[in-house]
Amino acid sequence: MSAVAVTGMGVVAPNGLGTEAYWKATLAAVSGIGRITRFDPERYPATLAGEVDLDPTDRLPGRLIPQTDHSTRLSLLAAEEAIRDAGIDAGELPDDQVGVVTASSAGGFEFGHRELDKLWRKGPEYVSAYQSFAWFYAVNTGQISIRHGLRGPSGVLVADQAGGLDAIAQARRLVRRGVSAVLTGAVDGSLCPWGWIAQSSGGRLSGAADPALAYRPFDAEADGYVPGEGGAILVLEEADGARARGAERVRGYVLGHAATFDRRPDSAAPDTGRGLRRAVELALDDSGLRPDDIDVVFADAAGTPALDRAEAAALTAVFGDRPVPVSVPKTMTGRMCAGAGPLDVVTALLAIESGQIPPAVHTSPAAHYGLNLVVGRPLTLAARTALIVARGFHGFNSAMVVGAAD
């Protein structure tokens, strides 16, 4: 079976808009986490987030502004960059041969909050004519497809934070079945008071007011995570097809993927990372690689002790005593739900391309996890392959293996 190549990438992140700005900030260990400015967070138990602030008016056509949530605008920007990067916007490919598969988590939630507010405060006749599609989970795929005239097989998956990798895997499946190119990934980011209390409801957010003391995965002091806005959109193509159309460069390959699901949580039988381990092993099988072939891991890094322990257990079970470097760039962006996995895939490919593994910030890894976390500054490493792990609330596990361009 022919290889599936990444030929384009677009990024929106709290520490950088655009792939280049993001990568520069990430290698410089610049965090985008701060106190929420989108609304007054004072009365809420958590007050920090990785916001992507953006004035869309000079970046998107005016007609799109009233009909889009912030997260959709961000996804349109990421898609635009990915298409430009891949050089497929010039109508080189038949439009019915290019698809769009994104993951969503909560849809355009801020847009939905505004319309719920109008409905309940003022009445049905005040609800926007765009509400029927601006908030729902399929919106980003639909808007990207319309903006770029893409008519191929498309889709939308939801699996909490694991969904972004699942979407890329679905895009790979479509490419393997003969679709010329697929835009894929996910962008989240819809900060509003209503969404904020929903995210806070499980008690998993860090209550710290100081970013340096908040999201600290694998730290002995870890006490929760910080949500972030952003993510990435990628262009996937069959490698020979990309070459045939004269694609400027291949950024890397998607080599393997697997998704598994955990049993219902049971206080008598805590999460041992068993399901995650199986996902990693199946993804390695799918890629035809062995654990020893993996040069770097991009961890899920939940930031709560029980989940960090489970992830560390799965990784050490797979890699044994070998101290494979573990990177957690999301300590600089916050956890982006569906957007996190795709951004980690982009980051992994950039790390492979540059030989620089980005560091985690704000965290001092506890020795008992047995992980070789890259902290403080980038690690210089001639990596050829990377494993990306993403876990979603309720038990979703997803693992992806990517490799260097030739």
Binding site: V100, F133, F136, A138, L157, A159, F261, F393
Partner: protein, 422 residues
């Protein structure tokens, strides 16, 4: 070797009845389950009719704690999944958890619970900075609807791939289509796949009112859904769920399972035209149909029945009629086409799976459900829409299609299991 996929179990929660039998009885009777909304006072809205499920969670055996915690659509999915597993005859010990997955389609997830909780935390819309102390501890489960698939997976013991598919009103076709791919490529042997939506709530009514997508025929609730009729003026909102047990064919054969149908082909396209609008030419839906037929290895003139999207909006029924003509050629005029939305309304993401269930049952029972309320066909809709009365027919190849906001167009071909195999 190609791995074929068959449907070996069906579970249904529908307006008009819970379970496969009342669902099928309603469909072949030509009766309708649309009525004036009873779930809340809908009088401030432009459209006040819907197809509601008479669903008693306790009578369906759901745990009271689950009922208070789970969105209505998730409750539907648990009940339908349990029915489907029972119908399939698969005992829990016959399921290999790691080789079993779940895909649940839903257009709007837990929207009804989200709205209910929003009303509580905002003090009925008074406060923009909502009150965290009034938030239920499981609010996140409504916020990200993958909780729906998680609950089904936990209840059925699946530990393979578990996902929600949310492509608007094609979710119910795309969820099953996605599950079929996972079996075909060897990731799973069994998938519990289907779709659920319970969208009948003020915000959903308001959003469809705002674009005049739903019918204002409030004085004739039982005949308000009129696909392909000259007098149609919008769809009737519905709710419901269908879940299937899908199996790799040899897996089903080895245990001598009853098989309803095989999924011969599936395809989807985007129209890249408009988030809610459809071009009248039906080009992308026709492309999806052609691709699904091609995968099934059947010629267009082998299609015995088409289950239409048939929502009853002006633009949809015209768009779809054009798509059938484009994809099936002259055979479109000879092929019975019907819309069960005339009877059970349009349950958004769920309806695609309910329509697959209708197709499988049509093949099983040798009968085509009619299009109810079709007395005066629109001259622009000039195919055989099986008006009013069900029709007996031996069905070997059935096509079902869906069309959704976002521009999604999907098509699936069901075939006799013996005929699968390329």
């Amino acid at each position: 070797m190609h791995r074929d996929v068959v449907i070996s179990g069906i579970g249904v929660v529908s307006p008009g009845g819970i379970g496969v039998k009342p669902f099928w009885d309603l469909l072949v009777s030509g009766r309708t389950a649309t009525r004036t909304i009873t779930r809340f006072d809908a009088s401030p809205f432009r459209s006040t009719v819907a197809a509601e499920c008479d669903f008693d969670a306790a009578a369906e055996g759901l745990d009271p704690e689950d009922v208070s915690r789970l969105d209505r659509a998730t409750q539907f999915a648990l009940v339908a999944a349990r029915q489907a597993l029972k119908d399939s005859g698969l005992a829990p010990e016959e399921l290999d958890p790691c080789r079993t997955g779940v895909t649940i389609g839903s257009a709007v997830g837990c929207t009804t619970s989200l709205e209910r909780e929003y009303v509580a935390v905002s003090h009925a819309g008074r406060d923009w900075l909502v009150d965290p102390d009034r938030a239920v501890p499981h609010l996140y489960d409504y916020y990200v609807p993958s909780s729906m698939a998680a609950e089904v997976a936990w209840a059925s013991g699946a530990e393979g791939p578990v996902q929600v598919v949310s492509t608007g009103c094609t979710s119910g076709l795309d969820s099953v289509g996605h599950a079929v791919r996972l079996i075909e490529e060897g990731v799973s042997d069994v998938m519990i796949a289907g779709a659920t939506d319970a969208p009948i709530s003020p915000i959903t009514l308001a959003c469809f009112d705002a674009i005049r997508a739903t019918t204002p025929r409030n004085d004739e609730p039982t005949t308000a859904s009129r696909p392909f009729d000259r007098t149609r003026n919008g769809f009737v909102l519905g709710e419901g769920c269908a879940v299937f047990v899908l199996e790799e064919r040899e897996h089903a054969r080895a245990r001598d399972a009853h098989v309803y149908a095989a999924v011969g082909g599936f395809a989807s396209r985007c129209n890249a035209y408009h988030m809610t609008g459809l071009r009248p030419d039906g080009k992308e839906m026709a492309a999806a149909i052609a691709a699904a037929l091609d995968e099934a290895g059947v010629a267009p003139d082998a299609v015995d029945y088409v289950n239409a999207h048939g929502s009853g909006t002006k633009q949809n029924d015209r768009h779809e009629t054009a798509a059938f003509k484009r994809a099936l050629g002259d055979h479109a005029r000879r092929t019975p086409v019907s819309s069960i939305k005339s009877m059970i309304g349009h349950s958004l993401g769920a309806i695609g799976s309910l329509e697959i269930a209708a197709c499988a049952l049509a093949m099983e029972n040798g009968a085509i459900p009619p299009t109810a309320n079709l007395h005066d066909p629109d001259p622009e809709c000039d195919l055989d829409y099986v008006p009013l009365v069900a029709r007996e027919a031996a069905l070997d190849t059935v096509l079902t299609v869906g069309s959704g906001f976002g521009g999604f167009q999907s098509a699936m071909v069901l075939t006799r299991p013996g005929r699968v195999g390329r």
